[in-house]
Symmetry: C2
Subunit: 251 residues, 2 copies
């Protein structure tokens, strides 16, 4: 069965999409058949790789129709593009537990051909993120090394625990990932110490540094590991990929 | 009638809360009776000023109950705290147009005692942000000087146009605010040029620089204009306040 990594944090701008794109690209390069799914109505994972959003989302169409998975140029990676109209889903979907079970089974069916699936989530704890958590085998939470980002972690952990309590899910904590770490700032060091002392082993060893190459890469439609392979951010994402592969099925 | 400023952008982490807090504090200091309303389930505007989230949100309780507006220590500012349970609202609220009109009239009633109201919104285009747009007299959109932030603006403009088309709203575009501008980065200059050439006069003259003082301030429960009054970010927010006061009721 595929490992399904959900990249989620309701706090905005913490590096979810950047992590989803670079993890998907490096996992695909390591030889695993990998799919990146864009679940955010902003479609940043889609446009960040130079693709166009779809009219309707493949996962929400329900019909088994022609699979529209797009190969990503130059990578052994497939993309399931996002759609701007997902905003409606957020409003509509107040699925009962039974409904959600049905939806998740259907999503897992669409992922069956892949060894690794990476889900990029919107900055919210609404229906899309909860469905993604319910279908995932592990969750990775990017945390920016700043005050507000720490605050939101408690709510995320509560949401994860809730999904874990449903008997048909198999979600484990993949890990907390420190992002946009600026080694010159005291604030970043304080947040890192606090996160490691609170979450211990559940925090990835790899820390993603703040690096302008990561902010420039999407405007070229490339992952930073392709746009600037020798940059500090690119090296850190390669390290993260290794750490994810070594950890097998989460902690 | 109060000017009701909605600080909104579905892109996450662009400086909505930081702008809402610092604009509310500086507007209150200029002598106007000012209220800051936290509409985000993350409650960052509430905790960023050292307050605690409420059990239920004042605006969503519906009953006229005892007004629970909290004075902010050392400021002539009032806060209507956020609540973590707003996440339910997002899921439930698929208000019909008539319902929304009723809700907005009720919210305006609660704002009647104030000259200025600042609404901090979550990073989404769901029910909360749309209600905030419907009740507001003007919308200010913070845009981080990076690629993904530009992308999301079109969807925001579409949402604003939609609200403006309802005959009982009076929303104008207050302006696009460039935030976290790092003068050393070419990317920031490129985004600034693109935004100014596309939005022209609708872009604030004031640009908020990237400044670690702004990231440190919330951990002290203070606005950056109080935490580090001589910092570049604090000076920029004072400038923004002047610009908002001079522009009267939006453009
Ligand atoms: N390591 C980094 N160093 C510098 N900038 C970065 C880094 N990682 C991401 N960025 C930039 O920071 C911004 C936020 O990152 P990103 O969009 O990946 O976050 P997100 O959590 O997906 O945001 P949202 O909550 O809106 O989905 C983007 O402009 C991105 O290019
Ligand atoms: N001018 C600035 N310079 C440096 N850091 C800043 C600046 N403004 C805000 N920040 C920091 O950047 C992060 C994002 O800012 P903020 O939380 O205000 O954005 P937001 O748009 O409200 O996020 P969300 O989408 O999650 O609501 C915070 O950690 C904040 O402290
Ligand atoms: Mg994203
Ligand atoms: Mg905010």
């Amino acid at each position: 069965m595929a490992r399904i990594l959900c990249i989620a944090n309701q706090k905005g701008g913490v590096g979810k999409t950047t992590t989803a794109i670079n993890l998907a690209v490096t996992l695909a390069r390591s030889g695993l058949r990998t799919l990146l799914v864009d679940l955010d109505p902003q479609c940043n994972a889609t446009t960040g790789l130079g693709h166009q959003p779809a009219e309707r989302h493949q996962l929400l169409r329900g019909d088994e129709g022609e699979e529209l998975l797009e190969p990503v140029e130059g990578e052994p990676l497939f993309l399931m593009p996002g759609t701007r109209s997902l905003a409606d889903v957020e409003m509509l979907v107040r699925l009962s537990r039974e409904d959600m079970e049905r939806v998740c089974r259907q999503w897992r069916g669409q992922f069956a051909d892949f060894q690794m699936v990476v889900l990029d989530c919107p900055p919210s704890l609404g229906a899309l993120t909860r469905s993604a958590l319910a279908v995932a085998t592990e969750v990775i939470m990017p945390v920016q090394c700043e005050y507000f980002a720490m605050e939101g972690l408690t709510q995320m952990i509560v949401a994860v625990r809730q999904v874990q309590s449903w008997n048909w899910t198999s979600l484990s904590l993949g890990g907390i990932l420190l992002t946009m770490h600026d080694h010159r700032l005291e604030l970043a060091q304080e947040v890192e110490q606090e996160v490691r002392s609170y979450f211990g082993q559940a925090t990835f060893q790899t820390v993603i540094p703040r690096d302008v190459a990561a902010a420039e890469a999407p405007s070229h439609g490339l992952a930073v590991v392709d746009y600037a392979p020798r940059s500090r951010a690119a090296r850190a994402y390669l390290e993260l990929c290794m750490e994810v592969l070594e950890s097998e099925q989460g902690q």
